[in-house]
Amino acid sequence: MAEQTVTVNYSGAVNAALRRCLTDVPETLLYGEDVARPGGVHGVTRGLWKDFGDRVFDTPISESAILGTAVGAAMMGRRPIVEIMWADFFLVALDQMVNQAANVRYVSGGRLTAPLVVRTQQGNSPGACAQHSQNLEAIFLHTPGLRVAMPSTPQDAYDIMVSAVYCDDPVIVIDNRTLYFGAKEPVVTGRPPAPAGGSRPRRTGDALTVVTWGAITHRVLEAADQLAGRSVPVTVIETPWLNPFDTAAVIDSVNRTGGKLAVVHEANATAGFGAEVVTRVAEAGALRGRPLRIAVPDARIPAAPQLAAALIPDSDRIAAELAGLARS
């Protein structure tokens, strides 16, 4: 497929990546609730059903069947791409990811594999209820055998989806619906699939290192720009791939910023992946002083927008806390 630059928003980038994979990888299938004829509740899969026939289809509201059939089809050599409409809905069928997909390769000693991709989206948007607002990446990151990515830009949304489809392990690609209809941007398509993994240095500065992923990355970058304006230059490393996680890049950066580390995620703090990042840096002996963890406090997410906003860190709060760490 020829390299080419298209101008699309996040949802268009995912759509383009899916189209490319359906075209180039005959083993792919794409299915889930409302993904085919309706083109997805968020319109991300629009048009694919028309062009790829019965390789793209709608399913009943049966997450265990959606994920379980994907595991079975992958064991037989397909590369199913399935959608779980909201990450919260994984919880009715987590068995198929944790007890099933994650065990296929290991338990069979490599005789079987499960190269499937699960697309989902998560997080809060104004007015969303507690059952449609969670950030569940830590559950998957605690499960050996699964790969996990959380892109935040159209380019990464495209590249990561392609990498996920070519990856020979089960991959969960987690979007955030507030990103779907962001600005259109030039996105380079058609490059050879990159292997899973890697991180993105988004800002450089020696005051401290901030590690972040997912939609909140944009708030972190706003905060970093505020701080740069107040001559507190911080390094921001975005880690859209959480498994494999680019531990080396993070440790290296923390060493270059005086051992000062902040981690920012939208998931609630306790037992979130931020704790893992802090711990890896501490285990490497790179941490100096107190690390800073910026996350949603351990509460449920209320529906009223002003209530949710009181829990989810915005760029001002992030900037203020980072400034505090920089001063410390």
Partner: protein
């Protein structure tokens, strides 16, 4: 009979107008987030709740405004909840899709398809042991019949002979997908029958039919007959959520639904029964005034205060 039908019409209008007002509050930006309306499905809550006793409880879905209202949740507190006001039934924490009004026996909507169904079975189980003999009604959609938890909950209730009414509102769609494409056998009642649960497919646009059926089944259940299943054939007059333009539905179908829907039908039946248009118009105006007043009051209520946002996580 005319009186009762007029009362049913009033009750259905309260729900219909609540949903219409909610729509405009979404469009004006006062209500945020995705909202699922039950416009066209009002006969179910009005008919079924009319057959329930005070201690009975209802567990619904995100499309549950009508069930909360039919169980007695005040319109103002309902609007307030959708508007994120401190006076909302859950102080703004539940929102349109996950609110409850326990004081009225409305134990909650649920935004996970099938998620609330086992709760109803548990509520009936509790009733067996707390001496109330409470009946639990749970309502869910056609698409929910394909969710494992619903199957498990129905079998559990059957096994334990619990007084649970499983009410399936078949509006022919699951979000944007027709149920007929998702099942091989469209007679969903067969699934309940297979579990040993008596099942009935009834006119979901007639409050009277629904009330009478639910009354009979409730009585049987209270007498120890165990659970029952009722499928209500009905229709959604609007999209799955406010903003869904329904490209997946033909004009003819929508027009047919307009003829079948319970509010228009009740008006027709009353007119045929000789009730003067003026009386009907008066009733409509009265309900609209009540709904507008409730909305206005809710809009004037104070927003939920973020200061308390971390309370009630644990006891």
């Amino acid at each position: 009979m005319r009186e009762r039908l007029l009362a049913d019409l009033r009750a259905m209008w309260r729900i219909r107008m609540f949903e219409e007002k909610t729509t405009s509050l979404c469009q004006s930006g006062d209500i945020k987030g995705s909202v699922h309306l039950c416009s066209g499905q009002e006969a179910g809550p009005v008919g079924a709740c009319g057959a329930l006793a005070d201690g009975d409880v209802v567990f619904a879905t995100y499309r549950g405004h009508g069930w909360a209202i039919a169980k007695g949740a005040p319109l103002r507190a309902m609007f307030a909840e959708l508007l994120g006001r401190a006076t909302g039934v859950n102080g703004g924490r539940g929102g349109s899709a996950f609110l409850s009004a326990p004081e009225y026996g409305f134990l909650g909507e649920n935004s996970i398809v099938g998620g609330g169904v086992p709760h109803a079975v548990g509520a009936a189980l509790a009733g067996r042991h707390d001496g109330s003999g409470r009946l639990a009604l749970t309502v869910f959609g056609d698409g929910a019949m394909n969710q494992g938890a619903v199957h498990e909950a129905m079998n559990f209730a059957a096994m334990a002979d619990l007084p649970v009414l499983f009410v399936c509102e078949n509006n022919r769609y699951s979000e944007l997908t027709p149920i007929r494409d998702m099942v091989r056998n469209e007679r969903l009642t067969d699934r309940a029958t297979a579990l040993g649960i008596p099942a009935y497919r009834i006119d979901g646009n007639s409050p009277a039919v629904i009330r009478d059926t639910v009354a009979d089944l409730a009585e049987a259940a209270r007498e120890g007959g165990g659970p029952a299943f009722v499928e209500l054939t009905t229709q959604r007059l609007v999209g799955h959520y406010v903003g869904d333009v329904q490209q997946y539905r033909g004009r003819d179908e929508l027009e047919e639904d307009m003829r079948a829907e319970p509010v228009a039908r009740a008006v027709r039946e009353l007119t045929e029964a000789g009730v003067p248009d003026a009386d009907i118009a008066a009733a409509e105006a009265a309900v609209r005034a009540e709904v507008e007043e409730a909305a206005a009051a809710a809009l004037a209520d104070p927003p939920a205060d973020p200061a308390g946002v971390r309370e009630h996580i644990y006891g």
